[in-house]
Each structure stands twice: as structure tokens, then as C-alpha cells.
Symmetry: C2
Subunit: 356 residues, 2 copies
């Protein structure tokens, strides 16, 4: 029954439920019951079975169980390639947080990469439609969809994270970016700033829309015109944050009327931007205040230490898993909702009142 070629009669691995049953002197179904519903089996029998299982080093076969019950215990996280980089450590944090919560719920985490090609889309759809996964957490704005199959109607519970996809009918765990930017911009205005420089990731991207929107709201609230803010970037992905900052520094140098405050949409942009403009003699925060996004730990050790709006990644991960497991538990999906986790400004020396 044991398919391994045993050395010296030992059973180092590969014991089956049938092996356990035989050793314990019971039927195979009793073993199954003892392991799954310990309450529904005689205590003495259960003890025998547990002893046998332990002696054989028995581990239930997950695929067999999965096939039988028609469910897998794997959750996939769909990551766009563009999120993979950056000093912000967002991805590692997300993975750690999600994986931890998932394991407590008895699930495993599988990684799925969603690039801008059909191959990766097809791959994800195979996972979804092939019964391999039980649910998905997606950090991309695009739902895979290739020749007829679409993740949207795969029947899988899906939770979006970082991006608001409630319009597409997905539970979404997001941060209050708009509000956070509005507040920090308002604070900059209060300090006396009137001309702003905004470093953007991909134009039209959810984060860009929300964050830039926040800037505009603050300007409007203070009676300032849209012209008070200049944009830089918009072409490159967040993945190329450092490049965006370098380019923005060039753009900044060309401006005749210099802004006095910079709002960067990632720490990477801020870091490379600051590095480059300092080299050109710009003093921070003397000549220019800087605030950015993500809350990368490294910001504390920049000179000057950078103010940054922290993304509460761990909480978001937990929330996403909670929502997903809820959805898996229910028969019907709850109405799409936004779960907003508040992000907070970490205030450091890179912000000050503008010179005179």
C-alpha cells in the first residue's frame, strides 16, 4: 500500500489513510472521521488511530481531499510586475501579512504574476478555472480575460487591495489617499506654500487620480487655482520610481517660477528627486518641502529625513483576507464595498514653511 521503497522495513513517508486504518484495525472511513470530526468517533478508537497515524508519520493528501470535496485550500495573490520593485517593501509586507492570516484560516498562498501579456493572463485563468485556487486577492487594476474566460465570472471570490475596484463589483481594501493628500497639502498651504510640484506615476492610474484629486481639493479649499500645481512624470510605472524622481529633478530645474513644495506619489521618486536637486544646490526643506507616499523605513535615514504617508499594508492584508474568507464562507457574495484603512502621515524634517 505504501508506494515508497522502504529501507529496512521503515516507513519514512508516503503512508496512506488505508495504512493507518490497517494499523489501527479500523475501517478507512473511521480514520477519515477521526481526523476530521474527532467528536464523532469513540475516544478509544480515536486514540488508536492517532497513535497509528503518528507512528506512520501520516499526512493526508491534499489533492485527494481537494478533489473529493471540490475545493482547494489555496488562495492566489495576483501581483502586477510593476509592484515588484521599490524601497517601500510593500510587496514583502503584503505577502507576509496575507500569508500569516491565510495560514491561520487553513489556507495557502500562491503567487500569480499578471504582466501585460496574454500568457500570464491565461495562466491565471487556468489557475482559477482549473480548480486550483479557492479565491484571489488582486493588486492589479486589470482582471485577466482571455478568449471567453474572465476572472470576473470565474465564480471565485476576489478581493481587490490597494486599488478601488468596487465599480467592477469587487470588495476593495484601500487607503484614504485622497483625504491624506488633501490634508497634507492643506497643511503645506497653512505653512505658507503656494506653488506645488506633483510627481506622478502612470497618468490616470487609480492612485494618480486619487492623490492628485486630493491636491486639487486642498487648493480649491484654500481658494488657490489649479495652476498652483505643476505635474511631472505620468509616463513611467511606479516600478521606475527612481527614474521618475531623476527626471522630475530635471523638470524642476527648468521651471522659472520654482514651486516651494513637492508631493511625490512614492518614496522612491522623492528620494531620487531630493538627491538630484540637492546636488544642484537646492536646500531641503529650506528651499523646498517634500512629502511622499508609502512610508518606507529608509525615509527616516535620508538627509533630511523624509516625511511620508504610510501605507498601512499589514492591516490592509489582514482586512483583505478577512473579507475573502468571509466571501468563501457565504453562499452569496456580499454587496461590493470599500473597506478604507486610514493611512497616516509620518512627519519629519523635510517639511517646513517656505522662505519668506
Amino acid at each position: 500500500m505504501n508506494k515508497n521503497k522502504d529501507v529496512a522495513g521503515e516507513e519514512p513517508s508516503g503512508a496512506l489513510m488505508a495504512d493507518v486504518a490497517r494499523l489501527a484495525g479500523v475501517a478507512i472511513s473511521t480514520v477519515s472521521r477521526a481526523l476530521a470530526n474527532p467528536g464523532r468517533v469513540n475516544e478509544k478508537t480515536r486514540a488508536k488511530i492517532n497513535a497509528a497515524a503518528r507512528q506512520l508519520g501520516y499526512t493526508p493528501n491534499a489533492m485527494a481531499r481537494g478533489l473529493r470535496v471540490g475545493k482547494s485550500n489555496i488562495i492566489m495573490i495576483i501581483l502586477p510586475g510593476s509592484l515588484y520593485y521599490g524601497a517601500s517593501q510593500i510587496i514583502p509586507h503584503v505577502l507576509q501579512s496575507i500569508n500569516k492570516s491565510l495560514i491561520q484560516g487553513g489556507y495557502n498562498l500562491m503567487i500569480a504574476n499578471l504582466d501585460r501579456d496574454e500568457i500570464s493572463e491565461r495562466h491565471i485563468l487556468d489557475l482559477a478555472f482549473g480548480g486550483s485556487v479557492r479565491g484571489a486577492i488582486i493588486l492589479s487594476s486589470k482582471l485577466p480575460e482571455v478568449d471567453g474566460r474572465s476572472l470576473a465570472n470565474s465564480g471565485l471570490p476576489i478581493v481587490s487591495m490597494l486599488l478601488d475596484m468596487s465599480d467592477a463589483g469587487l470588495q476593495s481594501v484601500i487607503t484614504n489617499d485622497r483625504e491624506a493628500v488633501r490634508d497634507v497639502t492643506a497643511e503645506l498651504i497653512r505653512l505658507g506654500h503656494r506653488r506645488f510640484f506633483y510627481l506622478a506615476g502612470p497618468e490616470g492610474n487609480y492612485h494618480d487620480v486619487e492623490r492628485y484629486g486630493g491636491v486639487l481639493e486642498a487648493l480649491e479649499g484654500a481658494g488657490l487655482s489649479e495652476g498652483s500645481v505643476r505635474r511631472s512624470g505620468g509616463h513611467l510605472d511606479y516600478q521606475h520610481g527612481f527614474d521618475i524622481g531623476v527626471q522630475a529633478a530635471d523638470d524642476f530645474a527648468k521651471l522659472t517660477e520654482k514651486p516651494t513644495a513637492v508631493i511625490a506619489t512614492s518614496d522612491d521618486m522623492a528620494i531620487s528627486f531630493v538627491s538630484r536637486v540637492q546636488r544642484r544646490g537646492v536646500s531641503i526643506p529650506g528651499d523646498l518641502s517634500v512629502v511622499s507616499f508609502d512610508g518606507s523605513p529608509v525615509c527616516e535615514f535620508c538627509s533630511p529625513p523624509l516625511s511620508t504617508i504610510k501605507q498601512p499594508v499589514e492591516e490592509m492584508g489582514r482586512a483583505a483576507v478577512d473579507l475573502l474568507l468571509d466571501a468563501i464562507g457565504q453562499r452569496e457574495n456580499a454587496a461590493a464595498v470599500r473597506t478604507v484603512i486610514r493611512s497616516s502621515l509620518i512627519s519629519r524634517e523635510s517639511i517646513a514653511a517656505p522662505k519668506s
Copy 2:
């Protein structure tokens, strides 16, 4: 046959091989053959089957196949919690690189976290012995082992990455850290440096041993005594790299005879160390040269830009996957070997000749 409650007679998902067979007017086994061994079935039949499959949006069930063939197509990567942080982006890169190679080989990547508790060990062992995974890539020095079951004799192909575990019989993909440190130390000596400061991660850790060993080799080669180098750190995990650097700056301040060159074993350490000693008036590289490990992109934008020894993570990931897939292909495991990928020094302004 389709278990989904279809809306309006459509079959949005969940088609089985039997459905395809019926639609194509052939036996189910023919469908299986057509999909797996297209060569062994009549071209016309195959066309019919493919058409039917496509029309139904058929996706083979991975668990059923896995159960039947006795193999899963999932590879797990075992990550220690301590690797999850740091501006170095090592983890995201590793994951991306490994996942990419894996997918090309038809495999999927599952994440397994190995913390210092029995729970996570048991979890990994369940994955290994439960037939869920086909192989493992491990980035931890410790092989899970709980009550009898041990990953080492799970029969799974395992490849170690970053750490040399060839002694434990594992194929290991590593970098030439010792040599790299020896070379850079020798270069520092050549520049005139005679007193060194070494920032360590956990003492006795593989990386610490190799890298510190490299320093000593260079000293010896130049006829300098072991006393030429002072150590700091050794208690905290790499996860706390920034803290190590901060503490090292305190240690440094207390030294009466100041070293003129710092060798840090991670960029995080170097970054926070530099930040703190600069604040105390130490000039870099004027008073102190600095070199560190990992090759974090952010180092380019520090002031001064930091020299760092780049870990060739992508190549390591590819190599690890290649070795793993080879091992899966063979019946017998190849003899344990080290695969050494060369890391390279990225030389920037943080290194100079010592004053006077």
C-alpha cells in the same frame, strides 16, 4: 454534467472533460489524449475536440490530474521571516525571478513562511508530505523537522538559495561573498586603510561567517592583524538592519581609535549608520569609507552614493529553478553541489583613500 447553475443555458465555466467529449462526439479518454498527446490522435478528431474545448471554455482540473498522476505542479519557496524586510528588494526580486522561470516550466509558486515556531514547521511538512508540492526552494538555514517528519527525507527535491547547505546534502545556489569581501577589503587596504569597522548581522550566521572570513583573509594577505577590524552588531537579525546601523553608530562614537573604513553586511545597516555618523560630523568618505552588501537601488541616491556589493538575485533565482527542475526530472538526485554566482561591487563615492 456541468455543476454550475447555468444562466440561460450558457456554460460560463465548470465544463468537464466529459462535456467536451460529448460535444465532440468522442470518448472521454480520447479527449484526454488529444489534450496531452496531440500526436497520438487523428488530426480531424483533435480539431473537433479542440473546438469543443474552446467553445465550452474547458480548463482541466489540476487537482484531479495531480491526484491521478501522483504529482503536483506546485513548488514552494520557504522564506524565513527575517528576510522579509529591507530596502534591498531581495525578496520581491527573488520571487519574481523564480516565479517567472517556474511558470515557463509549467509550475506554480507557493509561499511558505518558516518562522521559529513549530506551527510553521508543521505547516511546511504538511505541504511536503501531503503531496501538495513537487519541490522546494529554501532560503533558510534550518530544515523543518517535527516529530519524525523532516523535510530532508520527504523525498522532495530541494534547492537552497543564498545559503550554502551543501553540507546538508542540498544543491546550493550562492554568491561568492567571501571572495567579494576579500577583494573589496584588499582594495581598501591598497587605498591606505588600516583600521576597519565591520557591521554584522546575526553572529555565526552563514553570511556573517563568509563575509567576516573574507575580511580576515584580506587582512592576513596584507600582513595586518585580526585586531585591525572591530565588530559591531551580531545580535540582531538582518530584518533589523536599520537598527543595527544605528547601534553601530553609537559603538563607533565610543571608539577611541577610529576605523577609517566600514564594511556593512547589508545596505540597510550602512544607510542608517551613515545617516547617524554624518549627523555627528563624520564626513564620508573623507573620514570614513563605507561599503555594504546587497546592491539596493536606493544606494545610488544616498549622499554620498554608497558602494555596495550587488547580490545577483535574478540569476540566482534562475539557477535555483533550473537545478530544481533538473532534480525533478531525474530519478536520482545529483550529488550535492554548490553553484556559485559571482556578485559584483558597484563602486560609488563612499569609498576613498583615508585622510593623511
